[in-house]
């Protein structure tokens, strides 16, 4: 994986569009998970991912370890997401739960049900801290290992495990409470 990344980065530096697309396909899911864990808004997470990939491409010579392109990219994603969140908090006083949802999509049937589930999950994740959300999304959505999550968060593996444990417990409690309220 890392060797392949290094080769793809080398080709992308030379302007190879297919190599860059492969890098996008390899790392977009993780980038999205990190962005979503910061922003909690899918449309914003997508915008940040696009912005981060373009920034990464423009600064590709600054990537000192092409074999660790993924980790380098996720740092850019996180910084961009944090910048956007700061800008949003200055620009708008609207609480995030009021704008949850992907704008401009036609939801029908199964899509609508999926969309509702997504909105519930996002709303429940509002009550988690950033490291808890990141640990949860990277581990349970992206399938990262505990040590990989720990490396991304810059914490010991035991701490990353604790974040994940707390996130799952709090999320289940939130989602359970919602179901009980509906019942």
């Amino acid at each position: 994986m890392r060797d392949a990344d290094a080769r793809l980065v080398e080709r992308a530096r030379a302007g190879d569009a297919s190599a860059f697309e492969q890098l996008v396909r390899r790392h977009l899911r993780a980038a999205y998970a990190v962005a979503l864990s910061v922003l909690r808004e899918p449309a914003d997470a997508e915008d940040v991912c696009q912005d981060a990939f373009l920034t990464a491409l423009e600064r590709l010579e600054e990537c000192k370890r092409p074999d660790r392109f993924g980790a380098w990219l996720l740092q850019i994603v996180r910084n961009r997401a944090l910048n956007l969140r700061r800008a949003q908090s200055v620009r708008s006083a609207l609480p995030l739960e009021n704008v949850v949802g992907m704008a401009g999509r036609n939801d029908t049937g199964q899509q609508a049900e999926r969309s509702e589930l997504r909105d519930r999950l996002l709303a429940a994740m509002e009550h988690l801290s950033y490291p808890q959300r990141a640990a949860l999304l990277l581990h349970d959505l992206e399938g990262w290992r505990h040590r990989e999550v720990a490396a991304h968060l810059g914490v010991p593996e035991s701490t990353a495990r604790a974040y994940l444990f707390q996130a799952r417990r709090r999320l289940r409690a939130r989602l359970g409470a919602e179901l009980m309220e509906e019942g």
Binding site: A14, D16, A17, R29, Q111, D140
Partner: protein, 121 residues
């Protein structure tokens, strides 16, 4: 510990393949100008690189040829006869004097007597 993963698949952007492909397309389309710029820059370097080797080889050959020519010129200068022989002829000096000059020494008393004897009619 709460070891059971939560199903977060509704949050997965790739769950809707069309939407996922649109996301990738949006990124690659936005990246196209930068990729084109990089490809063009690399092609300029490639052209320079293409001409660099022959130019270097020609330079090395020229340098070697120049060095060889210079060393031959130096050798020719070294083997040229000393102008002493020509000078003594130009001044029309007799044999004993030219001998002293060739041996680069001052004449002894006996040399001078010998010279005077030869000069005497």
């Amino acid at each position: 510990m709460d070891e059971h993963p939560i199903d977060l698949s509704p949050l997965c952007p790739a769950a809707d393949p069309d939407h996922w492909e649109r996301m990738i397309k949006a990124i690659t389309t936005a990246a196209a100008p930068e990729l084109a710029r990089r490809a063009a820059a690399r092609s300029v370097f490639a052209v320079i690189g293409h001409w660099l080797r022959p130019a270097l080889a020609a330079g090395i050959v020229l340098a070697a040829a120049s060095a060889a020519t210079l060393s031959l010129v130096d050798r020719e200068v070294e083997i040229q006869p000393t102008p002493t022989a020509g000078l003594e002829e130009a001044l029309e000096l007799g044999e004993p004097v030219s001998l002293w000059l060739m041996e680069n020494r001052a004449p002894t008393t006996s040399d001078l007597l010998l010279a005077l004897e030869r000069e005497a009619p």
